[in-house]
Each structure stands twice: as structure tokens, then as C-alpha cells.
Amino acid sequence: MPTFLARRYARKLDAVGRTERAVGTFILLLVVGIVAAYAVQVATDRDYLFNVGAPDYRAADARRGAWPEPIEEFAPEPVARSDGSAREVENPFPDPDLPGWRTPVRVERFDAENLFAKIDGRADLYLQHGVAGLTFGAYTHADGDHTIDVYWYDMGQAEQAAAIFRAEQDAEAPRVRVGEEAYQVGGAVFLRKGSSYVQVLPSRLDEDAGAALRIAEQIAGSIGE
């Protein structure tokens, strides 16, 4: 039956050849594919309009790689032994030697140029005190529920480490015998040794105070005299 708009060209279906039907189907699928691709792109860019599940934090992290400042982060790399016979892991953070606690498996390094990417405006204070870099790692407990963060600042010189230690010091906090000078408050340990200024911050304050102190001792022990 001829359509209103195609009265002149309408044909019966059985008059359409196989070849013509195949080409027509291909063109139709192509159009559908283009529309679908556009919809997917829009959905990807405006995911808050379309997503029905939980936010994809990992994807957000990956997308942010194009936006904020670059951060050097690495899983500790194996290095060759001096005799080349084997490889061992080099991790700046020592083994805590504590039941249930694991050494950081992901380590972030920042220099004076991008320190703000970790501590934002606080970086200016450290820059004033001559910070050379920051190494950050988180000790994790086997139950996955609590962590101990370590901010290990290289202040370049012992005097500068002492200066920043004093600038942030809680004068009333009880002293502990770690490194050259240290105190512990609310479970967190703050120490200095050589050019290093280290903050050991447990997520569970009193419960992990002992673990934080042990980790601080291990870190101080790993710093050369």
C-alpha cells in the first residue's frame, strides 16, 4: 500500500531484493550505532545524571589524573642484589614486626614542587622550613579496618627538621624515647632524627597507640645516624 509520503516510490515488500534489504539493514544499524555511541559518551561525561549504582571512585581517580598535579607513586620495586643473583624489594618503610600489621604496599613521593598535592596549604609552612620531599605510606591491619599513616618529611638538614618539629610541637604532650626527640599525643607519634621529621598517625587513636609507637621506633631505627 503506498504511503502518503512515498506514494511515488513505494513498492511491495516482496519487490525489494535481498541485496537492497541487506544494504538497508546495514545503514539502519549504522545509524542506531551512532546514536548509541553518542548516548554512551554523554552518559560517561555526565555520569551523575545516568549512574544508578555506587559512584565509581577508581574511575574518578583515573580521570583526575588528567586534571590535578602529577604525583609520583609506586609500589616498591624489586632491585638487583650487588651480585646480580637475586632480586629483593626495596621499601622505604620498615617491617613493623607487629601481628596483623603490614608494611605499606603503595608509597607516594612528593618533592617541594608538588607537596601541596598532598597537604595543600600546609605545604607552605614546610617550604618555609626547607622541605626537600615527603614520603607517605599507610600501614594496614589485616582486618582492613584500621591504618597507621606515616608522613616522612625530608627536611634537608637536621636544623630544619628541628625547626619544623618545634613549630608543630604540642608542648604538653608526653615525651617518648624515639629518635632524637619525640612525643606522643592521642596515639599519634611525632619524631625527628637527622634531617627527617616523621608523623605516625593511627586511625584508631588509643587502640593503636602501641602499634604507632612501635612503627615510629622501627622508622627511627632505619634512619642513619
Binding site: D14, A15, G17, R18, V23, I27, Q41, D45, R46, D47, Y48, L49, A54, P55, D56, Y57, R58, A60, D61, R63, R64, A66, W67, P68, E69, F116, A117, K118, I119, D120, G121, R122, A123, D124, L125, Y151, E168, D170, E172, A173, V185, G186, G187, A188, F190, Q199, L201, S203, L205
Partner: protein, 362 residues
């Protein structure tokens, strides 16, 4: 079925038509192909401003401008209801949020720190604000921030993600496509090219979608700006190399204060970071209610007055000495004089004398 028999003329005509049609489609696709998409669009014209989220609020002249709730610990729900209810005892948040609204809540999720450090908004405070928005009939509740560190780590470790998701609101994570250049600064800077301090990437898409905006900020010491409160909270909507603004941080905060006119702000004084801000780390740096010694929440339709009150009463400092407050007041009052409907004055005592500061002690 037999193939139709075509004449030579029909074959040539149909073939030519197919070739022409296919060729036109290919040519059109080639001409229209844009590998960069929206990101390739020239951004030489930044947006000149943002929505005024307070302009449509029907707030009677004599109503409170500042509502302070002081209470014992672990009674967060009552604190939130008292703070918001103090702005309108009859309607509470319904004065500000109506059925069908899309509410954007901007907490501070800036750092990968647990809640007890006080570097981020208290997730329990956020939880009850979301609940109040839902009770007021909000159609959709969005929560967003552009953290300093990994969004996954910050939203998770701060407890914000869990609070948002259990209350049925939605986290809007920062993504490049959601930022747009917005003019940040004085109008005469319009002639500057983008990428300079005048045109800055702002987390625009959630702001565009929302009909109401609520800022919820912890009260913290800050080594650069002296304090981080409700006005500094908008910093988390900036993208790009925003650390460059640290050089002129008071100007930047006051520019943001002028740019953003929220529906209301809530100052979270449940854990006040008195020293070593904005990151903190010592529990001894944090005290409930700061100088007051008890958890405090402040709800206000005047962010400048709110910050002045918190700076004085919670941090124990003189608001007259805080540069960005002075600059924010100047810039907002200039906009008020130009006809914009909003509040922005440092002199919270003037509100107090007029009976427009409500204090509720639980």
C-alpha cells in the same frame, strides 16, 4: 522469490544514487567528526557568574540571620535540628528547601584523614542535614567536593561516602567534563585570557543542576589564611592548579565569597581544629566547640557574619584582623548595592542587637 529484473537505466540510476548517498554520508561524517568533543571547544569566554541560590528564598525581614546550637557530645541530630530550626522555628529547613528541589551540599572532604582529626566535615552532621533535606521534600540531594587527594581515599576515610550513601543521597565526583571556566575576580578583568587568575575552572555542572546550595564546613585554623570556615569551603569547587591562588589567598577566598551566594551555610563546630590547620593530625589540636568547649553548630543565611562569629567565638580571634572577611564584605556589599539579593556583613553583633541571632543550648 525471484529477484526483480532491472533495466540498465534502473541499475545505473540506483547505483549512482547509492554511491552518492553513501558518499554524502561518509563526507558528512568526516566533516562533522570531532575527536575532542566538548573539550575541544574554545573556552575564551568564561561564565560571568553563577546562580544566586538565595535570591528566591522568602525570608521575612525580621527573621534570624544566625542560629547557634550548643550541646553535649553525641547528640548530633538535636544539634542540627536546633541550628537549622533557629532560623525559622515554624518551618525549619522548609523555609529554604521545598518539595522538588535539587539540593547540592558542599562539605569539606579535602583530605584523606579520619573524622576525629577535624580536617573534614563531621559525617554525622552531614547525615542529619541530608535527612532534613529529605524531610523537606527535596527531589534529589547531591554531595560534591574536589578533594586535595584521591577522591576515593578522601570520601571513604572521612566517613562522608558512607553517610551520603546510607542516607540515599548521591556523591558527585569531580571529573574534567564537569568543570567550566568561570570569571573569578573583578569585572574589569574580563579582558584577560583564560588560564589567568581571572578565569578559573569551577565544578560547574553540579551547581548548574542544583536549585539550592548548602555549604557545610568544619572550623579550622589555616596556616595561610588564618582560618578555614564557610567561605574558604568554596575553595573545594575549584579545579586546575588552584595552589597558585595561595599567593593571593585572601583575594581568592573573597572572590569566591562574592561569586557564590548559597541558600544557607552551616558551620560545623563539633570538632574545631585550633592549631596546625588545615591538615591537623594531633587530637590535641582539636577541641569540641573550640574555645567554647562544647560542640557547636551555626546555621546562617549570611556566610560572612557566620565566619566572623566562628572566628571570634570558636577560634578566639579578632574578625577585624581577618583580611578575607573584610574583602568579602566589600565585594558582596557592592553586589547588594547593584541589586543582588543576599547578605554579607562582618558585624554579627549588629544582628545580635536586632535580635536576629538565636542561641539554643541543649
Amino acid at each position: 522469490m525471484a529477484e526483480p529484473r532491472w533495466t540498465r537505466r534502473e541499475l545505473l540510476t540506483r547505483g549512482a544514487g547509492a554511491v552518492l548517498g553513501g558518499g554524502a554520508a561518509v563526507a558528512g561524517g568526516y566533516l562533522l567528526y570531532d575527536p575532542k568533543g566538548d573539550r575541544g571547544l574554545p573556552r575564551w569566554q568564561p561564565r560571568l557568574g553563577l546562580k544566586n541560590f538565595f535570591a528566591q528564598i522568602d525570608l521575612p525581614a525580621g527573621h534570624p540571620r544566625l542560629s547557634v546550637a550548643v550541646g553535649p557530645e553525641h547528640r548530633t541530630e538535636e544539634l542540627v535540628r536546633a541550628a537549622v530550626g533557629g532560623l525559622d522555628p515554624a518551618l525549619g529547613l522548609r523555609r529554604f528547601v521545598q518539595p522538588g528541589d535539587v539540593v547540592l551540599i558542599k562539605p569539606n572532604v579535602g583530605f584523606d584523614r579520619p573524622p576525629h582529626v577535624g580536617a573534614t566535615t563531621n559525617p554525622e552532621v552531614l547525615r542529619w542535614i541530608i535527612r532534613l533535606c529529605r524531610e523537606a521534600g527535596a527531589r534529589e540531594i547531591l554531595v560534591t567536593d574536589n578533594p586535595i587527594e584521591s577522591p576515593q581515599a578522601c570520601f571513604s576515610r572521612s566517613g562522608i561516602a558512607a553517610a551520603v550513601e546510607t542516607e540515599g543521597a548521591k556523591v558527585v565526583l569531580p571529573a574534567p567534563a564537569q568543570f567550566e571556566l568561570v570569571l573569578l575576580g573583578q569585572p574589569q578583568a574580563r579582558s584577560r585570557a583564560p588560564g589567568t587568575a581571572a578565569a578559573w575552572p569551577v565544578l560547574y555542572r553540579p551547581l548548574d543542576r542544583a536549585t539550592k546550595l548548602i555549604g557545610v564546613a568544619p572550623i579550622k585554623d589555616h596556616n595561610l589564611s588564618s582560618a578555614s570556615m564557610t567561605l574558604k569551603n568554596w575553595y573545594g569547587l575549584l579545579g586546575g592548579r588552584r595552589h597558585q591562588l595561595h599567593q593571593t589567598i585572601h583575594e581568592a577566598i573573597s572572590d569566591l565569597a562574592a561569586l557564590l551566594s548559597p541558600t544557607l551555610v552551616i558551620a560545623d563546630g563539633t570538632r574545631v581544629m585550633l592549631h596546625n590547620g588545615p591538615t591537623g593530625g594531633r587530637v590535641s589540636d582539636v577541641r569540641p566547640g573550640g574555645q567554647l568547649g562544647r560542640p557547636v553548630l551555626v546555621a546562617s543565611v549570611d556566610p560572612v557574619a557566620c565566619d566572623a562569629w566562628c572566628y571570634q567565638r570558636l577560634l578566639g580571634r579578632d574578625p577585624a584582623a581577618l583580611d578575607y572577611l573584610r574583602l568579602a564584605e566589600q565585594k558582596i556589599q557592592a553586589r547588594v548595592a547593584a541589586g543582588e539579593r543576599r547578605f554579607g556583613q562582618r558585624d554579627w553583633l549588629a544582628y545580635d542587637r536586632a535580635g536576629q541571632v538565636v542561641t539554643t543550648t541543649l
